[in-house]
Amino acid sequence: MAERPEDLNLPNAVITRIIKEALPDGVNISKEARSAISRAASVFVLYATSCANNFAMKGKRKTLNASDVLSAMEEMEFQRFVTPLKEALEAYRREQKGKKEASEQKKKDRDKKTDSEEQDKSRDEDNDEDEERLEEEEQNEEEEVDN
């Protein structure tokens, strides 16, 4: 019972939404056309994967990376995709970095709290007093200047 790779379709609802947003308002799409586009998208991914894999093999790598896919786009004569894809990649990397930093920060905070909770408390109180004094002095100076 071999399933053809083209049968691995992408979700219909998402495909429909993408099509509708690409076309002007009021334009409809028949069911047959929609499912054909969905299948075409799957074929596109398969073809792009195969192209990208060639680039990876040329680079003697076993893992497909982003630049392999970008090279595949150019090979397939979809150069116009390259710029928007690069921008999307930048945004994706930033998001991933943000997520990673957020989770690392949470971990650090958790560790700090459990390890040195008491020490930090006393240290903080001393620092606060010093800062208040400095602020008061600055305020006095400003008032004199205004007057």
Binding site: P5, A48, T49, T63
Partner: protein
Amino acid sequence: MAAVAPGSGASREEEGTGGDATTPQPPAPTSAPGARLSRLPLARVKALVKADPDVTLAGQEAIFILARAAELFVETIAKDAYCCAQQGKRKTLQRRDLDNAIEAVDEFAFLEGTLD
């Protein structure tokens, strides 16, 4: 002093009056293109990539870019097919519009024979 924005309290007359329109409400306000990183589920794209027997591994970034590229592809082919429908003065995209687009546009040559 609280500033009252003009018109904020006024009721909208367009919505909710139970008017003639039977069209369902739009799902969400359209955001700028690229605001959402990708709509296609990465898991499905990954399944397609793994279907290739020659592929050993694919990085997360590669999967993401493939998903985004597939979206761009769907937009592109839909628009190209629509040009054909427009010539026929129709407002519904048909399968034959797609076939015409595939024949007409060189980049879509790889699709020939795959959609049947």
